[in-house]
Each structure stands twice: as structure tokens, then as C-alpha cells.
């Protein structure tokens, strides 16, 4: 049995219980979960993130190893694939933009089937692409929507986003919205669904299950926990949003306070967020930064037209033509191949003298 995800699930449950119980015991822990940990986490995140980026930036880029995914620019009458085989910096920017915004490479994904025959087929497999896009955009939307808790007045763009996000009203179950925007946010539900999908594929697709580490399940559970507690607060336990904003505004204005009347579940929510922030720079979640540094994607493919400089290029031992000719001169002359130095007909006595 491969139960790697149990460790991560257990870890998240423990974190939940610990924060839930402790937050209910009194002011000290509310200060811990509501003020100290968020500050510490954010600081860790910022420092960690920057130091990882700097660490990558410190490593050299000796060669231009672009992965070319289309026709090169060569003869004028052959149509190059400007984006997948980018000849200019501008084309690289477009390529990177499409990777980051649309996960373009992932869109190429195929699924292999091996049938009798033998016959192998490759069909487009867009589920991972759809799932990953849904997950990331839902996450982004949720993140941006939360700006409302950190700004006063709330920027017009954030309000707009909220309107769009809650546009497709499914059904208004609880009309408790203090901000005057009734409705269900799609992003929260999509996030939950997408995380669930990403989890299920790690459990049910044999190959993906086999490559998954315990560490791959942890952020999924954690994000599930964040989304779940968030949805719970909004639609079920109906948290005091004004109090919540008082706390968050306190954090951004560096006058932290712990307002009355915030339920323990709120502290769990921000504790989970703090954990995610701390976990982020030390884990694969750094892929957000890494993709910008990926040499197979962020470099031009014009290597034959403009020389790339390797900062640590050093001289190496080579077998020179002279050494080569010295070894093979007689044979070359005999075969009628041109040589630089003619073989000298040395009389026997002279050779002896040399020795």
C-alpha cells in the first residue's frame, strides 16, 4: 500500500486541531495566530522567496539550450514558427507569456494507449491542463478578492472582480453579505473542486501515484483546508466580517489588534495561510519563480546567428593538427594526402646521434 498522502493528511489535520483548540483558549493564542505568526510567515516568505530567486540568478547560464518546438528561422521562404522557435527577444516574451498565462506546454499533453497490433496511439489529454488552469486562476481570483481585507477604500478593480466572480449566481443560500454583494463566489468552489481533482489524480493514476511524494500532497491538503475553512466561514458559520477586516487592516497598518467576536475557525484559516507562506519558498511551489528562469523556455533560439557567451568558458586540451600529422605523416604522404611538414629522410647515423 502506498499511503504517502496519509502523512500529509495527518499533518494538516493536526495543524487544524492544534490551531482550532488553542485559538479558543484565550487571548495569548489569538495574538499568536492572528498577529505573530502572520507577520513571521510573511517575512519568511519574502526573504525566502527573494533568496531562492537570487540563488538561481547566481548560477551561470553557459549555453543557450532552448528547446525548439517548431520550425527554425533559416531560409527566407521557409515559414518559421516564431513563437515555439523564438529568434528574437520579443518572441521569447510571447512564448513565456503563453507559458505562464495559458500553460501552453501542458496543453500539448497527450495520453498514450498501447493496443494489440501492436498499435500505439496518442490522444490529446487536456484534463490536467484544464485542472491546473482552473486551480491557478481560482487561486489567483481568491487571492485578489482578499485584497478587500487589506485595503480601505476597496479598489474599484477588486470590486469589479468580485462582481464578475459572483456573476453566475448559482443560488443565494445565505444572504449574509455585509459588503452588499450577495451571491456565491465561483472561484472558491472551483478552487476546491480543482484541488480535489489534482488530489484524486495523484491517487488514481498509477504513474502519477508512483511519482508522488508525501511532500506533493501536503500543499494540496493545506490549500483544500484554506478554501474549506474560508467557505465554511462565509456560508455556514457566518463569521463577523467587519471584525475580520479590523484585524487584517491592523496588520497592514502595523497597528495590530485582536477584535472581539472572531470565531476559532477564522484563526485556523489564517494559520493555514501562514503555514503555506512559510512552506512556499522551501518547496516546489517555487515553480512560480522557476519558470521565469527555465533556460529551455526563456532563451532565444538564434544561437547560430548571435554568439552566446559562457562566463566560465575555459581552455581545454585539444589534439592539434600538428600532433595528428606527426603521428600519421608517413601514411598521409603515402596515400597522397597533403601534409604541412614533409617527412625528413633521416640517414641512419643521424638518428643515432640524436639518441
Amino acid at each position: 500500500m502506498n499511503l504517502k498522502y496519509m502523512y500529509s493528511l495527518l499533518a494538516v489535520i493536526v495543524l487544524f486541531l492544534v490551531s482550532y483548540i488553542l485559538a479558543g483558549t484565550g487571548m495569548a493564542f489569538k495574538v499568536l495566530f492572528g498577529i505573530i505568526l502572520p507577520y513571521a510567515a510573511l517575512l519568511t516568505f519574502i526573504i525566502g522567496f527573494i533568496s531562492r530567486i537570487r540563488n538561481w540568478a547566481r548560477s551561470a547560464v553557459p549555453f543557450r539550450i532552448t528547446t525548439t518546438c517548431g520550425q527554425q528561422k533559416s531560409l527566407p521562404w521557409i515559414k518559421p514558427n516564431a513563437i515555439d522557435n523564438p529568434f528574437s527577444k520579443g518572441a521569447v516574451v510571447i512564448r513565456m507569456f503563453l507559458e505562464i498565462v495559458l500553460f501552453r506546454s501542458l496543453f500539448r499533453n497527450t495520453r498514450l494507449k498501447m493496443k494489440a497490433g501492436p498499435k500505439i496511439t496518442y490522444n490529446l489529454e487536456i484534463f490536467l491542463w484544464v485542472g491546473a488552469l482552473a486551480f491557478h486562476y481560482a487561486f489567483l481570483t481568491v487571492l485578489l478578492r482578499h485584497l478587500r481585507f487589506f485595503t480601505e477604500p476597496v479598489p474599484i478593480l477588486v470590486q469589479l472582480l468580485e462582481t464578475v466572480d459572483s456573476f453566475f449566481r448559482i443560488e443565494i443560500l445565505y444572504d449574509i453579505n455585509q459588503f452588499g454583494l450577495p451571491g456565491v463566489y465561483i472561484s472558491g468552489l472551483v478552487l476546491l473542486a480543482a484541488v480535489t481533482y489534482l488530489f484524486l489524480r495523484r491517487v488514481f493514476i498509477p504513474n502519477v501515484k508512483y511519482i508522488s511524494l508525501a511532500a506533493d500532497f501536503f500543499p494540496l491538503f493545506l490549500i483544500f483546508g484554506i478554501a474549506f475553512t474560508g467557505i465554511l466561514m462565509r456560508y455556514v458559520t457566518k463569521i463577523d466580517v467587519v471584525a475580520a477586516k479590523e484585524l487584517t487592516m491592523g496588520l497592514v497598518s502595523f497597528h495590530p489588534t485582536i477584535p472581539e467576536g472572531l470565531a476559532s475557525i477564522f484563526y485556523v484559516h489564517i494559520f493555514f495561510v501562514s503555514i503555506l507562506l512559510v512552506y512556499f519558498p522551501f518547496s516546489k511551489l517555487m515553480h512560480i519563480g522557476g519558470i521565469f528562469f527555465s533556460p529551455t523556455r526563456n532563451m532565444t533560439a538564434d544561437t547560430r546567428a548571435t554568439r552566446h557567451i559562457n562566463p566560465w568558458n575555459y581552455p581545454v586540451h585539444v589534439h592539434t593538427y600538428e600532433e595528428y600529422e606527426d603521428e600519421f605523416r608517413e601514411k598521409m604522404v603515402e596515400a597522397g594526402l597533403p601534409v604541412v611538414k614533409q617527412p625528413v629522410e633521416t640517414p641512419p647515423e643521424e638518428t643515432e646521434k640524436k639518441e
Binding site: 518546438c69 531560409l75 498501447m114 506533493d216 522551501f282 518547496s283 559562457n310 585539444v318 593538427y321
Partner: protein, 541 residues
């Protein structure tokens, strides 16, 4: 090859990962998959460390006392020298998009041949040795300490990757497992753990200028042999030039084409094309016996070895005082020329920006490296109507084109060879989408794995390619697999006879030469292989 499994036995449709976690599944080095160890003489000749007689099947690999330290330090050095390595160690999310993209995984079903797991073999050590999270979380975070068992695993799986980069096309971050394999092999080479099929060609190339160890006089002999064949078939005597100081252009091609069928026919093709151009346009091109290798098995050893072997190209071009260089049909050779040569051994400021002396076309895309691919050169000639061609001479061939990994994914040379083929052949059919162009499948024998002892691996790894050929063979009657790679020409015939026996392997310039009408040629009744031309089948009798 006698104990090789039958195709039906090799083809597994139901491979499932083992029940035990990959870290707890010990490696079993198998015959038929593994290659023989590098000959100590070859390692010594080029100064590689820990040269000794050993075998991967031995209990004791005779490693230096401090081998763990060597690996650790080597790892560290490469993390600093190669951002690719560091970033690829850090950012894989194990989404699995690359998993079923590797031909070796498809063919062998061995989960450690999934690109992501191949990379995890190194990544697990990276986490343990170089990251805080790895040190704290240990196995939960995918970290493990370096042991002999891990080293054996590295060796086994680094030599089951042909550095084809197909995985990199599909990875959302462009993680290129070929790059990781290259680092893995560099590290293994620090301990003297190369395979002979790479180590000996490297030593040969260093000494004689080519992988096969052909000495200058023998090189000339071999081309003279082709001269005779060509004269017999066409009635025309072609006369290649060698090591000619002051020639306009230097020609460099893989030595495999000089040495073994069917590459030899491609080599004859070059000779005929150059002769044609010389007679008609005064084209002045020289072969070199010193730079008599296009390929670069140093590339499969280390970046340094790649540079050492590649240096001959510019050195010889400089010595001969040519204007620029044309490179023949070869796969990894062109990855090296396109992405490494100018950086490593340039700037080639003693050469001129390449201009075709016949059409006047400026090869702007090669203006710094000053080396042009022969299919770029020939496509340009054809476009300008500079070649007299009789396509019908190739009418017996129903052709499909195998994109070689390196020109496809390390260059993007996709339409030039297709243009040439379609101008010298009437029947051309593409293999199914998903198996050509940037998604092409490796022949299964690239990156120095085309030895004899790993035939099971090669036949398994070549399965996806062969299967795509089979599909056009059955649906379109394709009987010819054209390629622009010398390793392909050496490896694909075995692969075809194993999976699709009715298909023959051709180089593009062999087909060009079949169609090319030489001045003063006799009525040809056979192609370069001595097979009757279309309509001439009965003329012998």
C-alpha cells in the same frame, strides 16, 4: 542478438508500477539493457579519471576511496555552473505530464524511465545534500543519502536516456531531463563510470579525428572505394578533395557514413552532389581527415569533452583558410553545432558569413557560427533551380521522414529536409501527428546507446518510432524511412528489421543523388544500392 525477446514478448500493454515505492525498489542491472563498461585504455587516452577494468555486473565497482565526496563536490560545482541544473532540481511539481512521453518508458514499462523519476534519482540526492527542507523532512520530502545502491541506479538509468528532449517539450516548465542526464553522466565520469560505446569513440575521435578510428590514409581509401562504385553506377568519376588549403568550403560529416551501410550511400550522395556542383558551378569544397567526424560522443560524456572534440572543426577551418563550413546529416552533431560550438570554441571571426556561391543566398541564421546544414544548403539549391533532378528514379521508394531528436528539438530543422525529399521523390507520407516534428520519437539508440549488448533496450526504446512507421507502412505502403542522422542510419535498420521488416532506411542525400542528373552520366539502371531503378527491373535478364 540470439537471446533477444521476440517482438510479441517485448510489447507490454499492461505495465504497472511495482507495489514498492521507487526508493525502496532496488535496482537490478540486467543484461540486454546495460552497456559494457568503458575500456580503461580509452579513458586513459583522454585523461579521464579512475581508468580500470570493471563491469557493471561486478559486485565491486573499484571506486576511489572518497567517491561520495567526489560526487558531492561535482554536484555542487555543476549547480553553480549550470542554472538549468539548479532550476530543474528545484521546480518539478511531479505533475506527470512528462511520464509517458519517454520512448524508453513506453518501451520498457520501467517506471524509473519516466523522465520525472529519472530526474528524481538525482533530485533526491540534491535535496539531501543541498536543501534545508530535504535535510529536515528526509524521505517525506523526497530526500535520501548517496549510497552505492543509488550510484548503481544512476548509472543504470543515466544510460537509459538518449538525451532526446522529448520530455522537455511537454513539461510546463520546460524541464529538460536530457540536461539532467548530461549532468548525471558528467558526475559518473568523475568516477570513471562511462560505457565503452561512448568512451572508445571519444578516444578514437581525439586521436584520429573520428569515432571509428579511421586513419587518414584509410579514410581516403574508403572514399576511393565509393568513387569506384559511383563510377560503375553512373559512369562518372567524382574526385573529392582532401585537406585542401585555400578551398572555399570545408565539409564535415559523421564518420559513420564513411564506414557502414546504409550511411555509405548517403556519403556517396554527398560526393556526387559536390561533383555536380564543381563541374557546373566551380564549387570548391574539401573534406578533412583531421576533422573527419561530425558527431561528438564527447557530448555524451561531459561538456568539457564535447568542447575538446568539437574544437577540431574550427581549428581545421582556420588552418585550411576556408570561408565557411557545411555540415552533413547528423543528429547530435547539429545540437552541438547549433547550441554549443560558437559559445565553446568561437568566435569564428576567421571565417566569413556563409553565402552560397551558387545562388548568392546569405545564410543569415548561421552568420555567427558560420556553419550551414547540408539540407539548408541543398534546399536552397533546389529552390533556385540549380539542380537537374529526375524524381522518377526514386519511384520505387514510398518515403516517410523520421525527424531526428536533436535537429528537431535542439534546432528546429524540420521543413528543410522535407522540402528536399519532396523535390527528389514523388511519394512522401508523414507519420501520425504526435510522432513527428518536435514531438518526434527517438530511434532508441541515441546518445551513445547504439551498442550491441543493450539490444533489448534499443528495440524497446525504438518501439514508438517503429510503431509509427508501421502505421504508414500499413496504411500508405511506405517502404522507406528517410533520416538526416548517422546514428539513425546505423540504428534504424536493426529497429526496422525487428518491428517492421519491410522498411529500409535511407539518408536524404542518397535520394538526392539518385535523382541528380550528373553531366555526362550514362543511362543509369540501378540506384546507389545497386537495386534496379523503376522500370529497369528486367533489364539485367
Amino acid at each position: 542478438m540470439s537471446d533477444l525477446l521476440k517482438p510479441e514478448e517485448l510489447y507490454k500493454t499492461d505495465s504497472r508500477p511495482p507495489r514498492t515505492d521507487w526508493m525502496d525498489t532496488p535496482v537490478e542491472i540486467r543484461r540486454g539493457i546495460a552497456c559494457y563498461a568503458g575500456n580503461p585504455k580509452s579513458l586513459e587516452y583522454v585523461g579521464l579519471p579512475n581508468a580500470r577494468k570493471w563491469s557493471c555486473f561486478d559486485e565491486d565497482w573499484q571506486l576511489p576511496e572518497n567517491w561520495q565526496e567526489i560526487i558531492h563536490e561535482g554536484f555542487k560545482e555543476r549547480l553553480e555552473k549550470f542554472r538549468s541544473f539548479k532550476v530543474f532540481m528545484d521546480i518539478c511539481v511531479r505533475c506527470g505530464a512528462c511520464a509517458d512521453k519517454c520512448h524508453f518508458f513506453i518501451g520498457t514499462g520501467d517506471p524509473k524511465n519516466m523522465p520525472v523519476l529519472r530526474a528524481e534519482l538525482l533530485r533526491s540526492i540534491y535535496r539531501n545534500d543541498f536543501t534545508r527542507a530535504g535535510k529536515i523532512l528526509g524521505k517525506l520530502g523526497g530526500a535520501r543519502p548517496m549510497t552505492l545502491e543509488v550510484l548503481r541506479e544512476w548509472w543504470y538509468y543515466m544510460f537509459q536516456c538518449s538525451e532526446c528532449r522529448r520530455c522537455s517539450v511537454f513539461c510546463p516548465y520546460g524541464i529538460d531531463t536530457a540536461e539532467i542526464t548530461m549532468m548525471g553522466r558528467e558526475l559518473l565520469n568523475l568516477l570513471g563510470l562511462n560505457i565503452d560505446w561512448i568512451a572508445t569513440p571519444v578516444a578514437n575521435c581525439y586521436r584520429t579525428g573520428n569515432h571509428l578510428g579511421i586513419q587518414p590514409h584509410a579514410f581516403k581509401d574508403m572514399l576511393e572505394f565509393f568513387q569506384e562504385d559511383i563510377e560503375e553506377i553512373t559512369g562518372v568519376l567524382v574526385e573529392p578533395q582532401y585537406n585542401k588549403v585555400g578551398a572555399d568550403i570545408l565539409f564535415i560529416t559523421p564518420s559513420g557514413d564513411v564506414f557502414a551501410d546504409p550511411g555509405t550511400y548517403t556519403c556517396m550522395g554527398y560526393m556526387m552532389l559536390f561533383h555536380y556542383l564543381k563541374e557546373k558551378y566551380g564549387f570548391d569544397i574539401t573534406w578533412s581527415t583531421y576533422a573527419s567526424e561530425g558527431g561528438n560522443f564527447g557530448f555524451f560524456t561531459s561538456h568539457e569533452m564535447m568542447k575538446r572534440l568539437n574544437a577540431k572543426m574550427y581549428a581545421e577551418a582556420k588552418r585550411l583558410g576556408v570561408k565557411w563550413i557545411i555540415g552533413g546529416e547528423c543528429g547530435h552533431m547539429w545540437r552541438v553545432i547549433n547550441q554549443y560550438m560558437d559559445t565553446m570554441n568561437g568566435p569564428a571571426d576567421f571565417l566569413e558569413e556563409p553565402v552560397s556561391p551558387i545562388t548568392g543566398t546569405k545564410f543569415e541564421n548561421a552568420k555567427s557560427t558560420k556553419m550551414v546544414h547540408i539540407t539548408e544548403f541543398t534546399a536552397d539549391l533546389i529552390k533556385h533551380g540549380k539542380l537537374e533532378l529526375d524524381k522518377s528514379r526514386n519511384d520505387n521508394l514510398s518515403v516517410t521522414f523520421h525527424d531526428s531528436c536533436n535537429p528537431a528539438r535542439g534546432m528546429g530543422l524540420l521543413d528543410e529536409p522535407r522540402y528536399v525529399i519532396q523535390n527528389v521523390c514523388n511519394k512522401f507520407h508523414e507519420m501520425p501527428a504526435g510522432t513527428i516534428r518536435e514531438q518526434t520519437f527517438c530511434c532508441g539508440s541515441g546518445s551513445g546507446l547504439n551498442a550491441g549488448e543493450d539490444m533489448e533496450l534499443r528495440m524497446a526504446g525504438g518501439l514508438p518510432r517503429a510503431n509509427a512507421v508501421k502505421s504508414v507502412h500499413e496504411s500508405k505502403g511506405v517502404n522507406t524511412l528517410a533520416t538526416i542522422c548517422a546514428i539513425d542510419r546505423a540504428a534504424l535498420p536493426d529497429l526496422m528489421s525487428y518491428w517492421v521488416p519491410e522498411v529500409e532506411v535511407y539518408g536524404v542525400h542518397e535520394m538526392v543523388a539518385n535523382a541528380l542528373i550528373l553531366q555526362g552520366e550514362k543511362d543509369r539502371d540501378t540506384d546507389l544500392r545497386g537495386e534496379p531503378l523503376p522500370g529497369m527491373e528486367d533489364s539485367d535478364e
